[in-house]
Symmetry: C2
């Protein structure tokens, strides 16, 4: 320690006092930590999340945004929030263009006729009635497609990137970019249609759907994904050097606008009811499966965590807000509507994190919070550590898919990263069903969410939410 | 050794001489063993089987018996036999009733509407146009269905046995019995339709088809399989205690008769051309997949083994006959036609074994041969042992699926049992595609078949084939 002369000592004291006034460190009281530990351990033996996931996948099933089941799912969520003792249950409207899938077929016509397992991408237009036949041109990457330029005019473009499984699922960054941007690029180059190798890590005949994006006034072409074995087949045929003719027959497209809703349940805070810890998942799903891992599990984890906090003898200091978001799948519609509706409330959002990466165990926590809240985050990390959650103090936290939109407006946020090693085997396919969920892993998630949400609700001090905060933290969610 | 008095010694010698005359032990000459070892080791680094499997699945694909691809596959097999240097290539007719699949849909109508992944069973009739709706009654076993008796009248019967994976696939005995006999039983009890949990070990939305059997003059009802996750869903709904209404819409049925053919290629024996070692697989497949493991692999293994023997500097003593059987899937039609056509030639079939259990490694060999050929079988076993093949001298050998019919007539036969741990994940589903085959495991099979077939062809003596032999050996294939 450097020796301080009296005058500099006085100066240092004055600085310290000013700093303390400006930003006292956020702290979670010891009794709140003890209660969080109790909550955490109780969650590991609680069947609420499993029962919710079982119920949503069994009694509703596929929940394509804008479909009949969109409404049924909302009614389900409202009823469940009420049955689970939430103090306040309400909805907030979410309006979006409605896309419908009616039928989808594809087949190689020449040189060797074979049927293909295919699924249309969300926002794909239909092919002409009776289908569209063309020669396929194959590319390994979007860059290669870009370089091809005019050579794809009138052809069916195929891009064949092979995702590998990783715990953090990072190959999906590449796979989903091909899916979201490839069709618009191919359309601009004059292609007749776009196909990709599914953005998935499995080898099942279960193609992976997902949304694609168009420029507002740009051209649009039919776009679909082949299952991995079908992509293999197409590539093997093409490798023989003869032109491959493929027929694509998609009946799907836009159908006006639809107003759904985010369904919200709250455990009302006893001291600061207007301040909320925001957790959630998304209620919609793609239609080939029953939306078990994506994202009945997320909704169930958040609902169960809120419910367990609500079962405590006393209401927490701040409100626990559980949000079942509408239409995440087609472009974070629910998350964007929420962020817009609550833009002025950013500072009242104590901390937020959404679960939307299946039901694998949470293995990493990171946070975007103000520096003075790092010790409180460390306190949360210490409670989560026995669950196998490692705290990465260097990474930002993004809040998850829909809540990323509130984080973008300045909400302090965690990332509670789940093990996604197998997630992309089933994601957006007919295989997204209840049997893919391990109950113990699901419960670990509930333990994480219940403990963190409760501690954030009881914290002495905030985590730095403010309009415009964290604008440059580079969060990835 | 007991001491022998002169008289008993003389007696013993007389007995031995008589036994030698009656049945000299079959033996494989040392030079043939050495050549078999060379063949075995060469097969492990030969790409013939892989190339054949790749070609059949890529250039033909699904090969439903009686379909257009039935003919294409035969043309493929003839061309490949010729290209691989077989001395003689010919076909033998196989006539059977033709069954066609046009479309198949199912959905739960109440209490919670959900679509179901379903596939019609072979020989199922269609539902009435527009589908059939009824209440589902669930049973865990066929015995439980039997016991229900009249209670199923007018209902849709569901039997939900859960197969577990095993190396020898023995749960398929139960699963396939439900599939083959359940529909006829339910029909006799007056049921409107029959469903089963797929006879499979996976948890994919890829239902397992397969043939069912009717009594000649018995009633027939629509019959189909649900994928495992769909069976789970149905069972979960039923567990809620409310009646489950299901709609089944199958467009499929019989369509006259069709004449296909077994395609046969021979490496002609130099000393005993009329005596044959019979190996093979079946050329047909079910239609949802491309028939890679069932049974492009088997055809490829046998063809490659024959080819490697044909590549030797000298033709073997006896003929290697490779048979690509027609329509195994719908009831061993090709195998039965072969056995009928060759009934008089049983004694000329030195030894036989068919490959029809995927492409997993052979891990066990057993044989049905005359006692005097056991030492020769042991010689074969010694050559196969380094490949990881254990000889079980206590078990009979059945010859495999189609060749079981020749064995039933008295042909000496091996069982070369493959590792089927994952076979029933993909068997009879859309997932039966090339990517499920491991090249090294496929090559191990070729090594087994090439070595055994060559040694059998060179044996001094026979293996006991004779009309009516082995009638009571209890072979399981």
């Amino acid at each position: 320690m450097p020796r301080l002369v009296p005058s500099s000592l006085a100066l240092a004291c004055a600085f310290a006092a000013a700093a303390a006034l400006a930003a006292a460190p956020t702290r979670i009281p010891e009794d709140a930590v003890r209660t969080a530990i109790t909550l955490r351990d109780r969650a590991l033996h609680d069947d609420t999340a499993w029962n919710l996931t079982e119920s949503l996948t069994t009694e509703i099933g596929p929940r394509l945004a804008g479909s009949d089941n969109d409404l049924r799912a909302r009614e389900w969520a409202i009823a469940k929030f009420k049955a689970l003792g939430f103090d306040k249950v309400y909805t907030e409207p979410v309006t979006f263009p409605k896309w419908v899938r009616r039928s989808e077929h594809a087949a190689i016509v020449a040189p060797f006729p074979q049927p293909l397992a295919v699924t249309a991408l969300g926002y794909s237009p239909a092919t002409p009635a009776g289908g569209l036949t063309g020669e396929v041109v194959l590319f390994p990457t979007l860059d290669a497609l870009k370089a091809a330029g005019d050579a794809v005019r009138g052809k069916i473009v195929y891009v064949g990137f092979r995702m590998q499984p990783h715990r953090d699922g990072h190959d999906y960054g590449i796979g989903s970019t091909i899916r979201t941007h490839g069709p618009a690029l191919a359309a601009k180059l004059g292609a007749a249609a776009f196909l990709l190798r599914s953005a998935g890590t499995d080898s099942n005949r279960t193609p992976h759907t997902g949304v694609t994006q168009w420029e507002a006034d740009g051209p649009r072409i039919p776009a679909a994904a082949l299952s991995a074995p079908d992509a293999d087949l197409l590539e093997r045929m093409a490798a023989r050097g003869k032109p491959v003719q493929l027929k694509l027959d998609l009946d799907c497209g836009m159908d006006g606008t639809y107003t759904s809703a985010n369904v919200i349940g709250e455990i009302t805070g006893s001291k600061h009811p207007e301040q909320v810890v925001a957790i959630g998942g998304h209620l919609d799903s793609w239609d080939p499966g029953t939306g078990a891992i994506d994202d009945a599990a997320g909704v169930a984890i958040a609902m169960a965590a809120g419910h367990l906090i609500g079962e405590l003898p006393k209401r927490p200091d701040r409100t626990i807000r559980v949000i079942a978001f509408a239409n995440e799948e087609q472009g974070l519609w629910g998350g964007r509507a929420y962020a817009e509706a609550h833009a002025k409330d950013v500072a009242r959002h104590q901390l937020g994190s959404e679960s939307d990466f299946g039901a694998g165990k949470v293995w990493r926590m990171s946070a975007s919070v103000k520096p003075e809240a790092r010790d409180a985050i460390r306190q949360i990390a210490d409670v989560l550590a026995p669950l196998g959650v490692a705290y990465d103090a260097q990474r930002p936290g993004g809040g998850g898919s829909d809540l990323s939109q509130m984080h973008a407006k300045g909400m302090a946020a965690l990332s509670l990263t789940q093990d996604g090693t197998r997630y992309f085997d089933w994601h957006h396919t007919s295989n997204d069903t209840l049997d893919k969920i391990d109950r113990d892993e699901l419960d670990q998630n509930v333990a994480v969410y219940a403990a963190f949400a409760y501690m954030a609700a009881q914290a002495k001090g905030d985590f730095g939410s403010a309009p415009g905060a964290f604008a440059h933290d580079g969060a990835e969610d």
